[in-house]
């Protein structure tokens, strides 16, 4: 079901020439209970495919999202929401991202750009590098898992991180370094492998204690 996008602000302008709505001052956007955006300015327009486009700018733009797999919160300088595709594009220097799953485990990161697919609950972050931190609610005695990479894909449903480009994962002295690391946050299981052909593929699996 298509939910209406509701917006409150100090003022709004409708410019017919560009069929654009421009909201200014204390802008808050909600779509059902799923998405909330807070920003200084918001433009509602259409892209080349004539699909609705929401562009929020501010210092910062704050977004909150709650879905099947927990809730997310973040800060960025520009957030573009492609309504039909249900995709949030975040830009910042850096942008902050924070996710808490249904069990209370927390994952946070900073990146330069991020694409957040709200339908599939998957976020793809890029930066130079991206820093990420994961804290298990049940692990009181352990330090948080930390990592960095040039590109991180985080599937909130499977709780799996795919890290590429000088990827590093570290926790309590254990360290995995590789071009590509797939890390299962449920199992705390890292699969690291060099980018190579199948015949020369070398993989290392390091099990970090839960």
């Amino acid at each position: 079901m298509r939910l209406p996008v509701n917006i409150t602000a100090d003022s709004v302008e409708h410019v017919d020439a560009s069929a654009t709505l421009l909201y200014s001052g204390n802008v808050e956007v909600t779509q059902g209970k799923e998405i909330t955006l807070r920003c200084d300015q918001l433009q509602l327009s259409r892209d080349e495919q004539n699909d609705s486009l929401i562009t929020a700018t501010g210092a910062p733009v704050i977004f909150e999202q709650s879905g099947r797999n927990g809730s997310s919160r973040g800060e960025a300088s520009v957030v573009t929401y492609l309504v039909k595709q249900r995709l949030l594009r975040l830009e910042g220097s850096p942008l902050q991202f924070h996710h808490q799953d249904q069990q209370g485990n927390q994952t946070s990161g900073d990146a330069l750009t991020a694409n957040y697919d709200l339908h599939n609950e998957r976020i793809e972050m890029s930066g130079s590098p991206i820093h990420i931190k994961h804290t298990k609610k049940s692990d009181h005695n352990k330090s948080p898992l930390t990592g960095e990479a040039g590109l991180i894909e985080y599937d909130l449903g499977s709780e799996r991180l795919v890290m590429t480009g000088n990827a590093i994962i570290e926790q309590d002295g254990s360290k995995v370094v590789n071009d590509r690391i797939i890390f299962d946050l449920k199992q705390m299981n890292a699969v690291a492998g060099k980018k190579a052909s199948a015949s020369t593929r070398v993989q290392t699996t390091i099990r970090l204690d839960k």
Partner: protein
């Protein structure tokens, strides 16, 4: 807009001339009956007013319909249940309807009292912009309409509301809600 100003000026001149003739008549009558004319009463009163202004080719530019018009000497003109339909050649068509209208003595401003409905055609198959507010001033020389009252704007799947509204009637059509705004949008 200048044409509308001219039209309203024409109405004013017509009313003033009529008023003057009426006044002379009353003076003559007064000399007999000692009646004194009171400025608080209209010198001209017209029911079911319909005014159309067309260009040289017969194309309608403006149409004013009012249930009643009252003109006061050295004062303004009042209109009840006014409809103003503008079809200018160089700007999008617009239409406004209000319970009461008031034209100032200089014929520069049209004040619409009570509930006001204003519809602007957007053109190019775009949805029209409809504004519902109260107590709206139309500055027709500058193609502006504004109100400080709460206003609701409907444009296709966009519904906006706020307090205070500024509207540009010429191209590009521009509507601004000034404070405490909220919008509901069904987006695709």
């Amino acid at each position: 807009m200048n044409v509308l100003a001219g039209l309203l000026l024409l109405v004013a001149v017509m009313l003033a001339t009529s008023s003057y003739v009426n006044h002379l008549d009353r003076k003559t009558h007064a000399s007999v009956s000692q009646h004194t004319y009171h400025q608080d009463f209209p010198d001209i009163q017209v029911r079911n007013l319909q005014l159309v202004h067309a260009d040289a080719n017969g194309r309608h530019l403006y149409q004013i319909v009012a249930e009643e018009l009252r003109h006061y000497i050295k004062k303004s003109t009042e209109l009840d249940n006014i409809i103003l339909r503008a079809t200018p050649a160089d700007a999008p068509n617009w239409y406004t309807q209000a319970a009461h209208g008031w034209i100032d003595q200089q014929n520069k401003l049209l004040m619409l009292y009570g509930p006001v409905f204003l519809k602007q055609e957007a053109g190019n198959d775009a949805a029209p912009i409809e504004t519902i507010t109260r107590d709206m001033m139309i500055d027709y020389q500058n193609s502006l309409a504004y109100s400080m009252a709460p206003a609701t704007v409907l444009n296709g799947s966009h519904l906006l509301s706020g307090t205070g509204v500024d509207i540009q009637l010429k191209k590009p059509v521009h509507v601004k809600l000034l404070s405490n705004v909220s919008g509901s949008h069904l987006l695709e």
